[in-house]
Amino acid sequence: MLDYLVRRLLYALPILLGVNLLTFALFFMVNTPDDMARIHLGVKRVTPQAIEAWKAEHGYDRPLFINTQATGVDQVTDTLFVDKSLGLFAFDFGMADDGRDIAREIKTRMWPSLAIALPTFLVGLLCYVSFALLLTFFRGSALDRGGVILCVALMSISGLFYVIGGQYLMGKLWHWFPISGWQPGLDAWKFLVMPVVVGLVAGIGDSTRFYRALFLEEMGKDYVRTARAKGLSDLRVLFRHVLGNAMIPILTGVVVVIPRLFLGSLIIESFFGIPGLGSYTIDAIQAQDFAIVRSMVFLGSVLYIVGLVLTDISYTLVDPRVRLE
């Protein structure tokens, strides 16, 4: 297993380098350092000297990939790419272009994101799997058909509708929870309930159908017939054997998501006023803050790789046949 993990980590390095290279190329294809300076300096009375000063101050006065003015190794190292990339691999994200410390910002903002995403994820998983098991148990019945129709209907509705509808009903009409906002500490609970409920309801349709499909596929397999032939009850077959054997595809979808829960949800956080990471990257793209963009893309890639490795490890836990070598 250790060999496998070391190998995966070594694979990760060129992937991260490639992602970083792509981020640089795409960002500077759309924005020039002059554009970035103008965005940060404002639209009024900006002089060319101010733009040059801003670029020099933030290190954007250097060439992107090849420095033809330099000699030897410096041609490659004395460039924007190397200068801004090295720190990333040490998880030193540095300062945003507006002067704020990025690591501190991420640390501060990831907790509200987690506070929303974690309960939505855990309670959601429990609800969706239970509902899917229920429909599987009553497969072919009116209950199953009604459940599937409900799921398809819920899938067909835009996520934004759930947000606005939830705020309208629970916040505006019935006055149960604040429409938006956030308080740190224990006071956060009353701001959490509504987005979590909205997140749960919004996810019922597709998740339940996905899990139901997995369970139905398992139900048709030989081991289920054997278990039944041995006289096991339907409930026991369902929870003990079908659920157990469906864990690999469930884990494939679930574990990879866990690290990304830190990154938050743009729409939920925006509408509910949650100070999470959901909008951090989008705001940075709009503000052309390259320091944040590259840090968040890098972090997202790292978390994705971690998620995949965790998924592989989890396979060994649920299926003894799987060995990581």
């Binding site: 924005n31 554009d35 103008r38 000297q49 019935w174 429409i179």
Partner: protein, 705 residues
């Protein structure tokens, strides 16, 4: 434990407040009754350093924290400057090249502003002023181990204050020159403040010699532009005559910054914790920033050291000590829908009117005037409207061979388009009536702008005895034919006339607006091609003069006609000179007049020259004067003194709130409705029954099988 015991007597009150609070109240229990103002911000501020900030959404905060020498009178219109921290308005002396005083109407090499400060003004509590018993600064130098334990700014437990001095104002002007501060005003002020450029270069050289972000003693550099005469007096010397300079003295760029703050924040490790002057302001204003979490809330709290300041005369609150509200809480609210709903619930004291909520809030009367809907009236909501000190225009690139230049053919083509573009309709459709049709470059309320018949643009409008009427389309067709494009075709080639509009708008939401433009041009049988692009490409096209037509606007820095007319001053053109004259308009007659009026005091002579300038640009039509935006603001009845003052940035100190009334309304408007919850639970329980029945049936069927 002891502190908990001390709180014990307050527990019943807190419990009662918690029980009587509506469950959807986003604020701590009982707070609504207090002297607190609730507001929101939609975009996190980027800079709070007064040398660096140049944006309205940042001035909302720092305008109430920092105190420039001058301020706009809260009530007087047109806008009038008055001393804020000064004993009197600045005294201006005009000097020749040798520094000898000369008459204002003669040749002037320098203007020298002398400002005298009121004694006794003190800074907000701040750790930069904290002292050890021996008088040395408590946190300078900062022990790295101690700094490592500090995560939040409030963990600097020891604070201090000191008296504001003239040197602090001088220090801030030196900071404008510091290239590390990156003040957006530096490039502009280099032309005015004597010695600023040399100072900037010297600081830049010094910064290269060591750690970039270290403290550099700015006061040791030679700088003839600012002289500190004594503890309370300083002089600023600028090149030539620039009467508008006094308006800059009312902006945060020229607010005082204490040297101690710069020394404090420039210590190693501070920036990594976001402890910078750009993040944690230090001012003498009515409020200080008690909590700075731009992802959630910005909290302004009353400055306990705020100097004597009273509500101005001519108002029921005249003579009352300012500020009148203890705290102002700005919550981050990115979306309009929750903002509006929370306003209607009483959780925000004021709101703008977005397009989504316009019909719910406003109805336009038969006379065309806006009024509140009955629902809003029943809630005691009040509406304030004001014409903003801004303009919006459709510009023609005067370097373009088809539309540009001062020749008769192009001029008539532009005039024809000015008539054909029906901005009354535009204002009605896209702005819900929140705008006035433009008559020239100067919005109403600015000196030089005329009203009534004298104020109309005769190229586009006629006067019907009561109001301006847009000229008929036939006039536009006639001008188009005279320009050589009868029926929208080039008379020489027979080719249809195709024009190009560059815009940053794209996507479905912009489609209707851009379709409207196409329709307007089609009325003259002119084809319009809309070239939508992103912000960067658009700016680039403008700088290079590659756009033919474009939309642009200007928000005044100060209420002087010079601040609008300079947008059409030839040497200020965008192409080549990188100025703000986006149309690249250049008319020698206009430029000559501009050079005269920019140095004149307001009066009949200046008005006459401005009239002449406005006449020239109306005839030349480098812009279609589209509209002057109007701002609509709603506020609840419990908020007082919210008269719009579009130039002042320090209005919070005048606000007054009736907290008891607010709490009562919040209670009334937010009674929880519990029956849906009971019904949902009942339905859930009921749903279990058929499932259980089905399960039993399933088991029986399995047993039989």
């Amino acid at each position: 434990m002891r502190s908990l015991l001390r709180l014990l007597p307050a527990f019943p009150a807190l419990l009662l407040a918690a029980c009587t609070e509506p469950p959807n109240n986003p604020y701590p229990a009982g707070q609504s009754r207090q002297s607190v103002l609730y507001s929101a911000f939609s975009e996190r501020p980027k800079h709070l350093d007064p040398a660096r900030s140049y944006s309205e959404n940042e001035y909302v905060f720092i305008g109430n924290i920092y105190e420039p020498a001058l301020q706009y009178h809260f009530l007087k219109r047109p806008y009038v400057l008055e001393p804020l921290t000064l004993t009197a308005m600045p005294q201006v002396r005009y000097l020749d090249a040798q520094g000898q005083q000369v008459r204002a109407d003669g040749p002037v090499s320098f203007s020298e502003y002398e400002l005298r400060l009121q004694p006794g003004i003190r800074y907000q509590p701040h750790p930069a002023f904290a002292k050890r018993p021996d008088g040395r600064p408590r946190y300078v130098p900062m022990d790295p181990a101690e700094l490592a334990d500090i995560e939040r700014f409030t963990q600097f437990h020891e604070t201090g204050t000191r008296e504001l001095t003239a040197a602090d104002y001088a220090f801030q002007i030196r900071r404008l020159a510091d290239p590390r501060v990156q003040s957006p005003l530096l490039g502009f002020m280099l032309d005015y403040i004597v010695g600023l450029e040399a100072l900037s270069q010297a600081i830049g050289e010094e910064a290269k010699r060591g750690a970039r972000e270290r403290f550099i003693d700015l006061e040791r550099f030679e700088f003839p532009g600012v002289t500190v005469v004594d503890r309370y007096t300083w002089r600023i010397r600028i090149h030539g005559k620039y009467p508008q300079f006094q308006y800059w003295l009312a902006m945060p760029f020229f607010a005082p910054v204490p040297r101690e703050a710069e020394r404090f924040y420039r210590q190693p490790g501070m920036a990594e914790k976001n402890f910078t002057l750009d993040w944690q302001p230090v001012g003498t204003g009515a409020y200080y920033l008690a909590e700075n979490d731009p992802n959630r809330v910005m909290l302004l709290r009353r400055n306990p050291h705020y100097h004597e300041d009273y509500f101005p005369a001519g108002h029921p609150d005249a003579g009352k000590r300012l500020p009148m509200v203890d705290e102002v809480i700005y919550s981050l609210e990115k979306e309009n829908v929750p903002y509006w709903n929370k306003f209607l619930q009483g959780y925000y004291d004021a709101s703008g009117v977005s397009s989504d909520s316009f019909d719910q809030a406003i109805r336009i009367g038969a006379d065309g005037n806006p009024d509140l809907t009955p629902d809003m009236r029943a809630r005691g909501i009040r509406l304030s409207t004001s014409v903003r000190t801004s303009n919006w225009y459709l510009g023609f690139n005067m370097l373009d061979p088809v539309l540009g230049g001062l020749a008769e053919r192009q001029r008539k083509l532009r005039q024809a388009l000015s008539i054909a573009l029906d901005f009354e309709e535009y204002i009605s459709i896209f702005l819900n009536g929140r705008g006035l049709p433009g008559q020239g470059p100067l919005p109403p309320g600015i000196f030089g702008a005329r009203e009534g018949k004298a104020g109309i643009n005769p190229v586009v409008y006629t006067w019907d005895g009561k109001q301006a009427r847009r000229r008929p389309l036939a006039d536009a067709r006639r001008l188009l034919a005279e320009a050589g494009y009868p029926g929208g075709r080039d008379a020489r080639t027979g080719e249809p006339l195709t024009l190009y509009l560059d815009t940053m708008d794209s996507g479905p939401e912009a489609k209707s607006r851009l379709d409207w433009y196409r329709k307007q041009f089609a009325r003259l049988d002119i084809q319009l091609v809309v070239r939508s692009t992103d912000y960067n490409r658009f700016q680039d096209k403008m700088r290079k003069g590659n756009a033919q037509m474009f939309e642009w606007g200007w928000n005044a820095d100060y209420p002087d006609p010079e601040n609008f007319l300079f947008l059409l001053y030839g040497p200020n053109r965008k192409v080549g000179n990188n100025g703000e004259n986006a149309a690249n308009y250049q008319n020698p007659a206009f430029d000559r007049l501009f050079e005269q009026i920019k140095e004149m005091e307001n009066g009949p002579a200046r008005q006459a020259l401005i009239d002449e300038m406005v006449h020239i640009v109306r005839e030349d039509a480098p812009w279609v004067f589209a509209y002057y935006p109007k701002s609509f603001a709603l506020r609840h009845g419990w908020v007082m003194n919210a008269e719009p003052n579009l130039m002042a940035h320090n209005q919070l100190k005048y606000r007054r709130v009736d907290g008891a009334a607010r709490a009562a309304y919040q209670q009334r408007w937010n009674r929880p409705v519990w029956w849906p919850l009971v019904l949902s639970l009942a339905l859930l329980v009921t749903a279990i029954w058929p499932v259980a029945a089905s399960y039993r049936k399933h088991l029986r069927a399995a047993a039989r099988a």
